[in-house]
Symmetry: C2
Subunit: 409 residues, 2 copies
């Protein structure tokens, strides 16, 4: 990306109404634009980060044999009425609308009911199971307040995976595979060391569900962890019974705030039963399908990465999600020519700051935008056939031979 | 894709309520699932076709220097009220909803107002122009009737590009570049020979806009064309004045139905003026920004391709948009082993029909699903070190050496 050609501009000041650090920095650095509280547009750099996060999740889920689909945002009330969840008392964050031809519709806050309803067309026998379908799709939640930037949106991007099984054992087995896949995903996203699988409330059909909580000062959840963080539980399940189950003592627990980046549920028959999703077993008996569901908040993950890594100078992206890997600045005639040459080797990997502004302003923007490696080429560095490469995260700077850099790019 | 592992099933019968050929075939072949009239889910094969169409459009737009973004579905009424378009009298296909915290919202039927509003943050000087931003985003239109499958959706995917300029000349120049890009796009999508740039009504600021109309029996538009199809006009502009403008005579025109797959508009100040999107020129005078907008109905294009190419046996995909290139069927033990071997060379390109059903059923599904090349490997073909390759479109069958096939894959 040539900065002279992109419409993105960095802003000196965060907008007044943007109180969350992630929203403020992402706006200042030109990644997002606020449409209204809790509703954001993704600009070219922001969209690239989202796509990078999606790619990592997609790769890990495809390895498990999951298939990608895309379901609608507009929701026919019928299946939701069967589970009682079209009611605003039951689900208090619905956005609803009306068909011109008559009848209410919902805007998907999640997709259990429609996918269970859909699967009635594809599941009839034990031979059709197990199956795993996921999507990256916009969810709509009518939050009363939305002041956390992209950590809590009224419109946000989620990955939701649903699994369908003939037996509890098969559900359990896949659930464990997803747990391991989630660990790999959060590791690859740069959140591994602060993200813990956390016991949370299980609802009707299971004693516990599991959340993946990233410890974070601005996180909205409160969790408790033991000394080696081998047991983490959500405040909502903190009781003597649960402490007994998990074999931890209240006095050895520490409290911290955390952001929920993923959750996994054993739904069992919760949705298949009221919606009539059954299969014929080997003896041709009709049985309820066992289900699990597994979410990751894609846009929230982006916000959590910002909150975890950002410093006073701006954003800091882990390489795996960064929109670009190198931020090229040429100084002086020879430096500009060489920066251009490096850029042309692989424009997909590089931002070229070819704007007609002072180097100091470019350095400040390089830090604000948070690209992993700033590469400065000047007559001084060229005298050593080198470029000065600065690691955004550590601040470490070293001279690297231009030829080595080019072969890396 | 291994058919034994995917949840997709082909259906013998189209659903009763699916009267459009594209909806019926895509449903039977397992590409889409109907959520309600005009609202569809995209299953793994359908999503791949959509992604292939998006890739072609993206490549051609990126060549013009366009930048990809993603704007929100939820719409703050404010900018729409400034242009008068939040009114249901003015725009009669709004879906509207309400914030829990109070206030109406719209669901984007298009994105002119929000992008103009957003660009006020990024355009202030002639130095910021021109700029071109596009997105692939769901649009919501509250149609009274929706009986055309994915040709006319209540929720559908659109590519919308917006251009911003300092002058009419610059807008005209870019508009011409987009016209050429659209021709390349429709050529690559397999619609080139039947798709014609068509004069349509221009609105307030331009005498004409242009539509890209694909001649199609089930198209909802009526267009007129002259002998060599060098001039095509929408019925809405058929008048003596227009005929004079275009230098064609009414009696030399033929009427046909067509589906609008794209449209391009010179908006000029239509939105920039009421929304106050201005730039400072070289003399520091404030001037209105010139604008153009350019749409392609992505999901509609998919439906048009189905309608154009499908035959009695099912779907027929042009190679560029097909979800897979080869449909592999192994017959007999050696055939199955060899089919598996070919599949493993590049699973991204192949469907392997490894289901435990008769070859005749596999052949029927291969035709229904419409993959460009059916590859059958049996003891007979192996005796000639070959596979039997059938072109779905022409029906032509030939023996191709396995080694040649593998190197192609």
């Amino acid at each position: 990306m040539r900065l002279s050609k992109t419409f993105i501009k960095t802003l000196r000041e965060a907008p007044n109404d943007e109180t969350a650090q992630n929203g403020a920095l992402l706006t200042r650095a030109g990644y997002i634009h606020k449409e209204m509280a809790g509703v954001y547009d993704y600009l070219p750099l922001g969209l690239k980060v989202i796509e990078n996060i999606k790619s990592i999740i997609r790769e890990e889920l495809n390895k498990l044999g999951c298939e990608e689909i895309s379901m609608s945002a507009l929701q026919n009330p019928e299946p939701w009425e069967k589970t009682g969840r079209f009611s605003d008392q039951e689900v208090d964050i619905w956005f609803k609308t009306e068909l011109a031809s008559g009848g209410k519709l919902g805007l998907a806050p999640t997709h259990e009911e429609p996918i269970v309803n859909m699967m009635k067309a594809y599941i009839s026998s034990y031979k059709d199971l197990p199956l795993y379908a996921y999507q990256f799709q916009t969810k709509f939640r009518n939050e009363l307040r939305a002041k956390s930037g992209i950590l809590r949106g009224r419109e946000f991007l989620m990955k939701d995976l649903y699994s369908f099984h003939t037996s509890e054992e098969d559900l359990d087995k896949f659930y464990t595979e997803v747990e391991r896949a989630y660990e790999r995903i959060f590791d690859r996203l740069g959140l591994g060391e602060d993200t813990f699988e956390t016991f949370a409330s299980g609802g009707i059909f299971a004693k516990y569900s599991h959340e993946f909580q990233t410890f974070l000062p601005v996180g909205e959840d409160m969790v408790y962890y033991n000394g080696d963080k081998s047991t983490v539980l959500n405040k909502e399940v903190l009781s003597d019974e649960v402490l007994g189950d998990l074999g931890v003592k209240r006095e050895e627990l520490t409290e911290t705030t955390a952001a929920e980046v993923g959750n996994i549920f054993k739904l069992k028959f919760k949705y298949s039963e009221p919606l009539g999703l059954k299969f014929a077993d080997e003896n041709n008996e009709q049985k309820n399908v066992y289900m699990g569901c597994y979410g990751i908040g894609v846009s929230r993950v982006m916000g959590v990465i910002v909150e975890k890594y950002a410093d006073k100078k701006g954003l800091v992206w882990p390489e795996a999600v960064a929109p670009f890997r190198y931020y090229l600045v040429g100084i002086g005639e020879a430096g500009v020519v060489k920066a251009e040459e490096i850029y042309n080797k692989n424009p997909e990997l590089c931002i070229l700051d070819d704007r007609d502004i002072r180097p100091g302003e470019k350095f400040a923007d390089a830090e604000l935008i948070g690209i992993p490696y700033r590469v400065v080429i000047s007559e001084r560095t060229l005298s050593e056939s080198s470029a000065e490469v600065t690691n955004r995260r550590t601040g470490e700077t070293k001279l690297i031979k231009i030829d080595d850099l080019i072969s890396e790019i």
